[in-house]
Subunit: 154 residues, 2 copies
DNA sequence: GCTTGACCTAAACTTAAGTTGAGGAATTAC
DNA sequence: GTAATTCCTCAACTTAAGTTTAGGTCAAGC
């Protein structure tokens, strides 16, 4: 492979549209692993641009840094990834995307059943489906639903 | 057990699955407007349960408090909303949902064009479309829905 | 060979969406 | 009538994903 000269953080920022501080932050979180020049400045590979672009796309879809980091776990740190490397993580990413789309579509379909009735009455309304909210987040007592005995919506 | 008397914050927490502190927080953000007892304690309407359930659903699909607040702007503050009130905001909610689904589908479709090539090269790759980043999600996408994170590249 | 601009680290600050804790007051239970 | 709950406010703390600032260092242009 031709010895391509490395990119400075400013170059990478210009090419990705990310801020310099965000790129440094991502390095701190282990999402990129630039080398250093003799003077201590970051030196990026051209493939890091792809890595960073992927981060932006994944974030747009709602993945956290943590999740992206998991996806990246299988990429080589210091070497330009191969096509197969990228294919693998793209596939995993696509599965995540599919799941999220499916969840939103389920919510939409349930909402359609509710638009007219305005119920949202925990017991009757499918929209409020704890399976989707799942073991989401936060501490605290998760849904004790419900025993709404009333037939009519409030 | 007076049938239609107001609910305490603890009752509401038990019925919705929200924490007491979260409910207080939502009141501070103007999402619910409980009255007060003579002693200064919050007294909720039964319809507030629906309001809070809606908040949970909307958050699950990624709306911020701010956006939910906008949706709620047309609901009466101190009176139980009518069916028409709920229909209106359900409709607006559905439009938001549709937009987000469409964004994710566009991303998925672009991803499909990329899985084999692994390009992601900003210039050439459609996946990286700044127009989508601009709108959509404001600062930092807040899709909180988890339970998807176990999909991994291996 | 100096001067400017790009870069470095570390720490503090920001926003969102809450949680936790302190110090009291109101209700409920016996 | 007291004890135990539950609730109140206010303030500080938390996490995520960065940004901003302060005080320096490196490298490129003239």
């Amino acid at each position: 492979m031709a010895a391509q000269k490395g990119l400075s953080i400013g170059d990478v920022a210009a090419r990705t549209g990310l801020s310099v501080s965000a790129i440094r932050f991502y390095e701190g979180r282990g999402l990129v692993h630039p080398e250093r020049s003799s003077g201590g400045q970051r030196v990026f590979l051209r493939s890091d641009i792809r890595r960073l672009s992927f981060i932006m796309i994944a974030q747009q879809i709602g993945l956290t840094i943590e999740e992206i980091s998991d996806l990246f776990a299988s990429l080589p740190e210091r070497r330009t990834p191969t096509k197969a490397d990228w294919s693998r993580i793209s596939g995993a990413f696509r599965r995540m995307l599919d799941e999220r789309i499916a969840l939103m579509e389920r919510t939409r379909d349930r909402l359609d059943g509710c638009i007219g009735c305005g119920c949202l009455s925990l017991k009757k309304c499918q929209l409020y489906n704890p399976e989707d909210r799942a073991r989401g987040l936060g501490t605290g007592p998760r849904f004790v639903l419900d025993n709404v005995s009333q037939v009519r919506a409030d």
